[in-house]
């Protein structure tokens, strides 16, 4: 039984592996999981605080900075502590995903349950498609997220 949940894929569709969060969101949307709302977000990470208002279960999907293992999937649980900065869930704009999550924590605006899936990118070349390792990881991450949504996100 799937509990009502919100999935937000983040990224820029035109910057290579940065689009992986959007790809996964589209795969999830195509599954039509009952009770699961799927959204996409671009640069306005602060807007996330508004978007997840009212949602108890939230899954965020983003690309992590290249660190030698393109396609590696990280699952982060903000309830366990501050997000690691070395994943480079960054943004060329003023506020990255990690900052938005930490700001929400400080203001008491974090959803009750949240999971963040970050797929390590190979590169962010303008106009490039997903690299093969990251494209493969997108399928794996989708399966992991579907399984987690089916079981229900663990309580913090």
């Amino acid at each position: 039984m799937t509990r009502a949940a919100l999935v937000i894929g983040l990224g820029n569709a035109d910057r290579g592996d940065d689009a992986v969060g959007l790809h996964i969101a589209r795969r999830l949307a195509a599954r039509g999981l009952p009770g699961v709302t799927v959204a996409e977000a671009g640069g306005d990470t602060l807007g996330l605080l508004e978007r997840w208002t009212g949602a108890a279960d939230v899954v965020l999907v983003d690309a992590a900075g290249p660190a030698g293992q393109p396609g590696r999937i990280h699952r982060l649980d903000p309830s366990l502590g501050p997000l690691p900065r070395d994943l480079a869930l960054g943004s060329t704009h003023a506020f990255g995903l990690a900052e938005a999550v930490e700001l929400a924590r400080t203001l008491g605006l974090l959803p009750r349950r949240m999971a963040i899936y970050a797929v390590e990118a190979g590169g962010f070349d303008p106009g490039a498609a997903l690299s093969p390792a990251v494209a493969a990881a997108a399928a794996d991450a989708t399966a992991l997220i579907v399984a987690e949504l089916r079981e229900g996100l663990a309580d913090a």
Binding site: G42, G43, D44, L46, G47, L49, E50, T92, H93, A94, F95, E99, E102, L103, T106, L107, G108
Partner: protein
């Protein structure tokens, strides 16, 4: 010769990627370079051969924070070239859209990027622990600005609803009406925010800037007007390039703009306020007096108060435009491309943004020129830093670095726009 290098490799809490380098030789500041290393993006070149009608949407991509400014300067410039005059009702909607961007962009800078400097916090997250209400209010204000962008622009980032001749779609009265309440509440949040920032401790610092802003016969400037300065410049936008020139400097991928006669100048909220104080509502003038800023203010650190006052103004103006809304008979007027040159200058949140397009008879772009506010302020920011670094040279390096970064943020530089992080390097010799 004794040399020393201080370096801020990545300037944080600014838009885009850049660095600051200070050279110190024999105990004096020998060089200041605001180095912008974000790769150049060649927007002016890629516009060549594109249809003039595409310019608003292509140039909006230059910045995710101020896309409306790019759309407005581009669309007005193309309309200027094609001899298109907008219906007053369409013009009012453009102004309302711009209000949304001012509210959103100014609030982001005030609350998330600049305020922590004045209170000694490393970032907005730590500030939120002590001033949660202020940050919550900032988020609410940003949301109010977003609501305007979403309705009039079609979406919040890189809006898609502006077209040459007007809009693709205009809202109904019923769609716009609920935003009047949103703006009335936002105005109260903006006043509270102004009160909060006006209470900050401000460094004693003043400079004899040449302020440059737009000047409109009746309005606080956003979309149109003449280009004027505090030293008597008063030209039509079409004459912009006779007064200002861009030059390349080796340490930056962004061009720096200066006065043709030599010298730097300052654009942005402080310039607008000083040159257009008489165009503000009496209510905003009264708030300015209450919070201790008067026209003629030359302390750039106080620009944060002016920025907050401009948020109040934009909320009031939005309320007014919504109340007076009279839906235009059509979302756009007829457009007939023709050969010619069009120029426009509008007031981006950070200051004037100039566009020029040369178009052929089919309406294709032959040449484009875009001068963003940060290119115009870059040289002035370096001058500010030279003074501050000289004054603070004896202070510990981390304090010097903090003061320099705060001074840069006074001008809300959008480095993404200007080349399109900032590092500080100090070399002591």
């Amino acid at each position: 010769m004794a040399t020393k290098t201080i370096r801020v490799d990545t300037l944080t809490r600014v838009e885009g990627e850049g660095a600051l380098e200070l050279d110190i030789a024999d105990g004096a500041v020998a060089g200041v370079r605001l180095a912008i290393f974000e790769p150049p993006r060649f927007f002016e070149a890629l516009l060549r051969g594109r249809a003039g009608a595409e310019a608003p949407d292509i140039t909006a991509r230059i910045c995710g924070i101020c896309p409306v400014a790019y759309q407005m300067s581009a669309v007005h410039a193309i309309e200027h070239a094609w001899g298109i005059t907008l219906d007053a009702r369409l013009r009012a909607l453009r102004r309302l859209l711009y209000c949304g961007e001012w509210i959103e962009s100014h609030t982001l800078h005030i609350v998330m990027l600049h305020a922590p400097d004045f209170l000694g916090f490393p970032d907005a997250i730590s500030m939120a622990a002590a001033h949660g209400e202020v940050v919550r209010r900032g988020l609410a204000l940003k949301k109010a600005g977003n609501a305007l962008l979403r309705l009039l622009g079609g979406r919040e980032i890189h809006p898609v609803n502006v077209r040459v001749g007007g809009f693709y779609r205009v809202p109904t009265r019923a769609e716009l009406a609920p935003l009047a309440t949103v703006m009335a509440e936002a105005r109260l949040d903006a006043i509270a925010l102004t009160r909060f920032v006006a209470g900050f401790p401000f460094p004693d610092f003043a400079r004899d800037y040449e302020f440059v802003a737009m000047r409109h016969p009746t309005e606080y400037p956003m979309n149109e007007g003449r280009v004027v300065s505090s030293r008597g410049l008063d030209i039509a936008v079409a004459e912009y390039e006779t007064a200002f020139a861009e030059r390349h400097v080796a340490h930056s991928t962004a061009l720096q703009s200066g006065l043709r006669g030599g010298g730097s100048y300052l654009v942005g909220p402080l310039a607008r306020f000083n040159l257009n104080y008489d165009r503000l509502d009496a209510s905003v003038q009264a708030l300015a007096a209450e919070f201790g800023v008067a026209p003629g203010c030359t302390n750039p650190f106080r620009s944060i108060i002016v920025r907050a006052l401009e948020v109040v103004y934009a909320c009031e103006e939005a309320e007014r435009l919504i109340a007076d809304y009279d839906p235009p008979p059509a979302p756009a007027v007829a457009v007939v491309p023709r050969a010619g040159t069009g120029t426009a200058c509008t007031e981006a949140p950070r200051g004037i943004l100039y566009h020029r397009y040369d178009l052929n008879a089919e309406g294709s772009i032959l040449a484009a020129r875009i001068v963003p506010p940060t290119s115009q302020n870059q040289s002035t920011i370096e001058d500010d830093l030279r003074i501050i670094a000289t004054r603070d040279l004896a202070l510990p390096e981390n304090v010097l670095r903090d003061h320099c970064e705060q001074a840069i943020r006074n001008h809300d530089p959008c480095i993404s726009c200007s080349t399109h992080f900032l590092r500080l390097t100090v070399r002591r010799q």
